[in-house]
């Protein structure tokens, strides 16, 4: 098994296209092995194309920093963040793994996305913001502070996803009504039943931000 060595060392050394192309070829070659003698199979492979398999190193731009990760074509952004980074970024949670619950919500290019449904290789060169990117316990974002003030959390496992989704919702629809907020946050599940206090937290941020704008 050969691993690709990114020759240039640039963050964008592996484009999504070339990586996937390599990966697809591995799958295709695997399919041929059973059907044709090795020599014929070799003849069919274009000599210029490098066949990739296993993992390769790439750069992800997370919370403003370039981070090196070892990923396979199938590695999700969620697993790259949680398992491949050193140190790992475990604030983003895995709950369903199938794009149902929103616990793994991050921003990609400023847009909320389920990181369990995003392949890491598709994120090369695109700015990614995780819950850790919005603030720290000592310096929280307004949304994070509001979640604390309004008790927009119980067990807390859904909280990072809700915090990211709330940031995205308030950026996209700063003056959203309560019903619109519910729509914006409908991609996230909470099992403890924190929703009413999450809505309180989001509305308190709306008020604070509006007051800030009026003051200017």
């Amino acid at each position: 098994m050969r691993e690709m060595d990114p020759s240039s060392g640039e963050p964008s050394a592996i484009s999504r296209r070339s990586f996937l192309k390599g990966a697809t070829q591995v799958a295709a070659a695997g399919g041929i092995i059973g059907a044709a003698p090795a020599s014929e199979q070799d003849a069919e492979v274009e000599p210029e194309v490098e066949t990739l398999s296993g993992s390769a190193s790439m750069e992800l731009l997370v919370n403003g920093k370039s981070r090196s990760v070892e990923v396979e074509p199938r590695t999700t952004l969620l697993h790259a963040l949680r398992n491949e980074m050193k140190p790992p970024l475990t604030g983003t949670k895995e709950v369903c793994g199938t794009g149902s619950c929103g616990a793994c919500t991050v921003l990609i290019d400023g847009q909320p996305a389920y990181s369990c449904l995003s392949l890491a290789v598709t994120c090369a060169g695109r700015p990614i913001t995780t819950v850790e990117g919005f603030g720290s316990a000592d310096a929280m974002s307004d949304v994070q502070q509001s979640f604390c003030d309004k008790d927009g959390m119980m067990c807390g496992f859904c909280t990072p996803g809700f915090v990211v989704a709330t940031h995205a919702a308030l950026d996209r629809a700063p003056k959203a009504s309560l019903d619109e907020l519910k729509y914006e946050l409908s991609g996230n599940f909470c099992r403890c039943g924190t929703y009413p206090h999450v809505f309180d937290a989001a509305q308190a941020v709306q008020k604070d931000r509006a007051r800030g704008e009026d003051g200017r």
Partner: protein, 726 residues
């Protein structure tokens, strides 16, 4: 070195007058809010240790099978595989879809490698009849899947109470009688953090460290002692944060035992968290039930006779259902007859789930009360008050009725009808719970530099336990919450109870209070020479201590602590008189039913709940809301579904097993019953989950006359109830 305070307590601790409280009975933001809101909180799922292996289990996809072979050869040669073992031999059977269906465990260097190896295990098995429904279990000649010894059928022994003839006679003499059969599906806990552990082994007889997503920090070392081959005192369990339990995480389970075993064998740390699909298959559930309930009332609406025949559906476990008349009173107790049995299927055993059995009982009983009211032309609130003994329920029902707008509602004593396909209704339900309190300990340490640590092993399931571990001490010593460090989630700390049945607060809070009170008296003993007043005559407030009645004799907190030559350690224990476990709640729900599409939209839910002294009003409202949300989700959406022919669990993901999301959430009002002035504390989380779905079903009936006897209240269920099978 810390030492215990040796002097006996001069006085008993007390919660004090509510008007004197500066910290408790207020909104206290949870102390771990910032780490949770920023992703810094480390859950078991997030633990990453050097050299750690990732383990996965292989669950047989259908409940019953004869294993012909489990071929591990290809899997064991997969990259990164360090440990692989089969848990079944050829010739073994898989008896049910639960821990018995775990066929193998794999540990590898990366999560993907573990998953790949799992996929390379080749299992040859002969499928057996699935037995996943009660009908299949009760069929003539059905395979016996019951785990009871010498069982010859899938029916457990019926528990009969009362005299059927007396109940029949009373029902025959009743003015109004209602009889219905209710079907309640199995519900999953759906803890967002799945079950699992990270086990860090240790050489020889050194202490092993286990991170556990558990409701029982103090109990888990015992649960792993045998597997880890050492005394429980040599096992340290850490649960700094945990992502929900709801009753499903009491013991380490098979997944914990396997993590421990693989760590032992490999000598490396092992991370074993169930996948979401595993979680649905083997991590427990709330039992379902079928209940045939017949209730009669006299012309005044008093319940005079009751008969219940019920099957509890707890898979291979017994399931739970409290006996009738649930919460309500039948005038002659002898006229109540019940026959409750378990029907076993080859499916995962039920576990405790927030108020085990109670929501099931509530659903049938509240429906019967509603229907009797309509038969007699009585107000839904009046008939409840007439049949509930507790004056607390009476005032709570009036309060939620007022909040939901009952007085202005047109259909108070009869169901309404749709206008242009739209109907609005209101329903009610009540709850009780007896949250226990038992042995629990807490250490409070005050250091000469003024820092304070409050430490007990307990776990915070999201209730806010960590916050009151600090807040109770802050109240006693006149400090702010941030001046007290709460340490929890560590089995090396003073032991605490398993969090089940709302016992945590009733057990821990008295021990914390006791420790804080002893610390206060220990400090007051130092002050007798300085401020010249005896122990018990000081006021601790706003970061100062002063002699009661003489504010001029006063010292700031930091100066008091400076009198200490060494840290003061006060050891508190459970004090029964600080706790009282008897609580009540009432709920109301308002819904809109679209009678053309069958869609139900909950518009508003209200709960009024007592619990003695509220420790933290903010977290309390969160818990009340959480109860309402879970009950709404249970009523409207949740249902475990099996493929009856082959036995596949179809609802093993969050797409097909639906839980409530933002858009289902109505206006919610959590009212703390401040007329409850008991000077005691207790847990309350079970109560508010009990009646919400009953109130919603009542509201649907009240809106349009459709009495739903099946859950969940899906559109097809509503339409079928309104118009019959189409």
């Amino acid at each position: 070195m810390s030492r215990p305070t040796s002097r006996p307590a001069a006085s008993d601790p007390s919660w004090g007058e509510r008007s004197d409280l500066d910290v408790l009975n207020r909104d206290i933001p949870r102390v771990d809010g910032p780490v949770k809101a920023t992703g810094e909180a480390v859950y078991t799922h997030d633990v990453r240790l050097p050299d750690m292996l990732w383990a996965r289990v292989l669950v047989h996809p259908v409940p019953r099978a004869e294993i012909e072979s489990i071929d591990l050869e290809a899997a064991s040669e997969m990259p990164g595989v360090v440990h692989i073992e089969a848990l079944k031999e050829p010739g073994d059977t898989v008896r049910y879809l639960g821990d018995d269906a775990v066929l193998a465990v794999v540990a590898a260097e990366t999560p993907d490698q573990a998953a790949d190896a799992l996929g390379a295990i080749v299992v040859q098995a002969k499928r057996l009849a699935p037995v996943v429904t009660p009908e299949q279990a009760l069929e003539e000649g059905a395979p016996v899947v019951s785990r009871r010894r010498k069982a010859d059928s899938n029916v457990g022994r019926a528990n009969e109470r009362g005299d059927e003839a007396v109940a029949d006679a009373a029902l025959a003499g009743a003015v109004a009688v209602v009889e219905r059969t209710f079907e309640i599906p199995i519900q999953h806990h759906v803890c967002l953090e799945t079950h699992g552990h990270v086990v860090q082994p240790a050489p020889d007889n050194d202490q092993v460290t286990v991170y556990a997503s558990t409701q029982s920090v103090s109990g888990t070392p015992r649960g792993l002692a045998r597997t880890l081959g050492r005394d429980a005192s040599k096992i340290r369990v850490l649960t700094p944060h945990m992502g929900g339990g709801f009753g499903s995480k009491f013991g380490p389970g098979l997944e914990g035992a396997l993590a421990a075993r693989v760590a032992n064998v490999t000598g490396r740390p092992v991370h074993l968290m169930l996948t979401r699909a595993d979680e649905f298959a083997i991590a427990g559930n709330r039992s379902g039930s079928r209940q045939n309930l017949k209730v009669g009332a006299d012309s005044d609406g008093r319940l005079v006779g009751l008969k219940l025949e019920a099957d509890k559906l707890g898979g291979v476990s017994g399931g739970s259902l409290p006996g009738p008349p649930y919460i309500y009173t039948v005038t002659d107790g002898a006229a109540v007859f019940s026959k409750i049995r378990s029907v076993h299927t080859a499916t995962d055993g039920s576990r405790a789930m927030r108020a085990p059995g109670h929501p099931q009982a509530s659903f049938a009983m509240e429906a019967a009360v509603d229907e009797l009211a309509y038969l007699l032309g009585m107000d839904l609130v009046d008939i409840r008050i007439r049949n509930l003994e507790s004056a607390v329920h009476h005032r709570q029902l009036r309060r939620v009725a007022e909040e939901i707008g009952w007085a202005d509602h047109p259909n108070r004593d009869r169901p309404g009808a749709a206008v242009n396909g739209r109907a609005v209704g209101i329903g009610f339900g009540v709850s009780v719970w007896g949250p226990g309190g038992r042995s629990s300990r807490c250490d409070v340490t005050v250091r000469p530099d003024g820092s304070v640590v409050s430490a007990t092993a307990t776990q915070d399931l999201g209730t806010g336990a960590r916050t009151y571990v600090a807040a109770i001490v802050a109240e006693e010593l006149g400090l702010t919450v941030d001046m007290v460090e709460a340490r929890i989630g560590d089995s090396d700390l003073p032991p605490s109870v398993t969090s089940g049945g709302s016992v945590t607060t009733g057990s821990s809070a008295p021990a914390i209070k006791d420790a804080a009170h002893k610390a206060r008296e220990g400090l007051e003993a130092l002050l007798t020479d300085v401020l010249e007043a005896p122990v018990g005559s000081y006021v601790w407030k706003d970061g100062r201590v002063s002699v009661r009645g003489d504010a001029s004799r006063s010292l700031p907190w930091i100066a008091v602590c400076a009198l200490l030559r060494e840290p003061l350690l006060a050891q508190g224990e459970f004090r029964d008189f600080l706790h009282e476990g008897r609580i009540h709640g009432a709920q109301a729900a308002k819904v809109e039913v679209d009678t053309l599409t069958g869609r139900v939209k909950v518009l508003k839910m209200v709960t009024c709940q007592d619990q003695g002294l509220p420790l933290n009003r903010l977290a309390l409202r969160s818990q009340i809301n959480g109860g309402m949300v879970q009950a709404l989700s249970y009523g409207l959406l949740e249902q475990r579904v099996f493929d009856e022919q082959d036995g596949f669990l179809l609802s093993d993901n969050l797409d097909l097993y639906k839980i409530a999301g933002s858009q289902e959430i109505p206006e919610m009002v959590a009212l703390i019953d401040d007329e409850d002035e008991r000077p005691s504390v207790c847990g309350m989380a079970e109560a508010p989950v009990i009646p919400g779905h009953s109130a919603i079903a009542g509201a649907i009936h009240n809106a349009c006359g459709a009495r739903l006897t099946r859950m969940p209240f899906t559109a097809d269920n509503v339409l079928e109830t309104l118009y019959g099978k189409i």
